[in-house]
């Protein structure tokens, strides 16, 4: 990655999330799902968000899209999309951006398409903004987009229903729908988790090709480090609702700074050097977000925890321009 290009994209990120905090109201009390999250998606790049289940990945995606559940609220921070402050945008303005300039693909292609409408009708319907196009033209555009995501015989496929397609095909259709208006940002929430490995590889390749073709920036949410390493330019590691480390993919994989990232990489079966009997795991559980631990969120599980971790929240340490991590060890290293 050449430096000048980076400097240029840094000026105009498609998505800029600053200090974002999200809470859920539940019958048993508030849950602090995301705390002080920072995230940049430079134009034309693919940014991976990695984290365990419950780390707040999907909440982050839905917050950006403005589609949070009724009991969720943004407690603070900014979400800027191409310079537009999404939090100050009225619902109609946000709706206008959705589908046209930013779209989302969901985890399970089995449930993300309407079962009672032919996919052609769904695709024609979501082009409702194009008032000067005829139905036939919209149909043509839909078929064209299906061809571009690799669906054979798109004209015939338009009259079929989603239950007549396989999982991989459905995810291609969902991706085609989200790309119809050539959005600037595509949020993909674990788009390959429900698919088998062969299909996963195909969808990853498809996303990479589409980024080239449409220059769409992608926020790729996953718990699969291998997939993220293969596809993304940047990585954001989310743990228990906090960004613990973020940076270019090579930096994260070759010089992980945060103990959580290090532990995560050590658990990746694809990276094991030897054939080991047992897969390493990270001991302990993700903390209950109704009672966020004081100090560092990872302390209860961290093998390297020491005195300040218990009650002082670790600072965001910039290891270089783009590589950040939140850990007390890093400040010590720098001090010493």
């Amino acid at each position: 990655m050449a430096l000048p290009a980076e400097a240029q994209v840094a000026d105009d990120p498609v998505l800029q999330v600053r200090d974002l905090s999200i809470g859920f109201r539940t019958p048993r009390g508030p849950v602090a799902a995301l705390r002080h999250v920072n995230l940049d998606v430079p134009r034309g790049s693919i940014v991976g968000v990695v984290g365990e289940s419950g780390s707040g990945k999907s909440s982050l995606a839905l917050a950006i899209m403005g589609l949070m559940a009724g009991n969720a609220e943004i407690l603070g921070g900014d979400i800027r999309f191409s310079g537009i402050d999404l939090r100050r945008l009225p619902p109609a303005g946000l709706r206008d951006l959705r589908g046209r300039r930013m779209t989302m693909v969901f985890q399970d292609p089995m449930t993300s398409l309407n079962p009672v409408r032919a996919i052609g009708r769904q695709m024609i319907d979501i082009q409702y903004r194009e008032q000067n196009l005829s139905i036939a033209q919209k149909r043509g555009r839909s078929a064209d987009m299906l061809r571009r995501v690799g669906l054979p015989d798109p004209e015939q496929q338009l009259d079929r229903y989603c239950h007549q397609f396989s999982g991989g095909m459905r995810q291609r259709i969902a991706i085609a729908m989200s790309l119809l208006e050539e959005p600037e940002l595509l949020i993909a929430d674990e788009p390959t988790t429900a698919l088998d490995v062969t299909l996963e590889a195909q969808i990853i390749q498809l996303l990479r090709d589409l980024r080239q073709e449409f220059n769409t920036s992608i926020l790729f949410i996953s718990h699969n480090l291998g997939v993220v390493a293969e596809l993304c330019d940047y990585i954001v590691v989310l743990y228990a609702g906090e960004v613990v480390e973020s940076g270019p993919v090579r930096e994260i994989f070759y010089r992980p700074a945060h103990p959580y990232t290090q532990a995560l990489l050590a658990c990746d079966p694809a990276r094991l050097d030897l054939v080991q009997r047992e897969l390493p795991t990270i001991a302990g559980d993700v903390p209950n977000l109704m009672r966020v631990p004081t100090g560092c969120v990872f302390r209860p599980r961290c093998p390297k925890a020491f005195a300040p971790c218990t009650n002082v929240p670790p600072p965001d340490v910039a290891l270089d321009d783009v590589h950040h991590a939140r850990c007390h060890l890093l400040t010590d290293e720098q001090d010493g």
């Binding site: 959705r98 589908g99 989302m104 449930t111 993300s112 398409l113 409408r117 036939a136 969902a174 949020i187």
Partner: protein, 288 residues
């Protein structure tokens, strides 16, 4: 334009299903018969159903008067035929109105804000909690008994059931991933509701409604029999039954002739509704 293959395929499918479901076929035939009588009955009737012929009163069934004559000498067969139109008009019409209102309120309750949902639910439950016939009798007593009032009563009684059905279906669909997906593609609330949720919830409603038509016709007959339905001299089935009951010892054919079409209609719509429920079940449809 894109739906051309759906037509013949659907009819062929229907034919295939009919052959495998004799009860459903019987229901269809009975409903068609009733519909036929409702449309062509008045022109087929051998006599004017309202014309009095006091000299011919209480004639037993014969070739001149197929179902005999009643206490005023009117031809019972002609009255039964003419009653079909009233029964279907009141039954079908009021169900159609109740269905439209119920669908609308149900969608709004299911998709709208919480407070509106609670308010509508309270309303539905209040109406629901009245015993049907008591509610009908009360309203018919307070207002003038007429076809319009009867339709109003039936709409009031039936709408909450449809609203609740649609509300529940909407609630379960609105949080599904494909609704989130179309919202992420920029769909506005009315678009989500009408284009994506409505086609998903409307199927069961039609089936329930088709099975409700006979019970509504029976309610009409019941209220009329109790003297609070359609006022005389309109030849509704309930009226025929009520008048026949007064002379059941001397002329039992009047009650029989008034009851048989009620039975035919009830059986026809019930069989057809049950068959429709089986035919439209998506799990069965998916096999094809």
């Amino acid at each position: 334009m894109s739906e051309i293959p759906a037509g013949p395929g659907f009819l062929r499918l229907l034919g295939q299903r009919l052959r495998n479901d004799p009860l459903g076929l019987l229901g269809l035939v009975l409903v068609l018969l009733v519909l036929f009588c409702a449309v062509f009955g008045p022109s087929l009737a051998p006599y004017n159903p309202l014309k009095l012929a006091v000299l011919d009163r209480f004639q037993s069934p014969s070739w001149t008067h197929l179902f005999g004559t009643d206490n005023l000498g009117r031809d019972v067969f002609s009255r039964v035929l003419a009653g079909t139109r009233i029964a279907l008009g009141v039954g079908g019409g009021s169900i159609a109105i109740a269905l439209s209102i119920g669908l609308m309120l149900g969608l709004v309750a299911g998709y709208g804000p919480r407070w509106l949902d609670n308010a509508l639910l309270l309303l539905f439950d209040s109406v629901y909690s009245f015993p049907t016939v008591m509610l009908g009798l009360t309203v018919m007593t307070l207002l003038n008994p007429s076809i319009g009032t009867l339709v109003f009563v039936i709409v009031v009684i039936q709408t909450p059931a449809y609203s609740r059905l649609i509300r529940t279906a909407t609630l379960s669909i609105k949080t599904s991933e494909y609704i989130l997906a179309v919202r992420s593609l920029g769909a506005s609330p009315p678009r989500v509701l009408l284009v994506h949720i409505l086609p998903n919830v409307i199927g069961p409603l039609f089936i329930i409604a088709s099975m409700d038509i006979p019970s509504v016709i029976a309610l009409e007959a019941g209220l009329t029999y109790l003297g609070m339905g359609i006022p005389p001299p309109a030849p509704s089935w309930g009226r025929i039954l009520q008048e026949g009951f007064d002379s059941i010892r001397d002329a039992p054919w009047i009650v029989i002739a008034g009851g048989i079409p009620l039975i035919i209609t009830t059986l026809g719509f019930t069989f057809l509704g049950e068959a429709l429920r089986d035919w439209l079940d998506p799990r069965l449809r998916r096999v094809i």
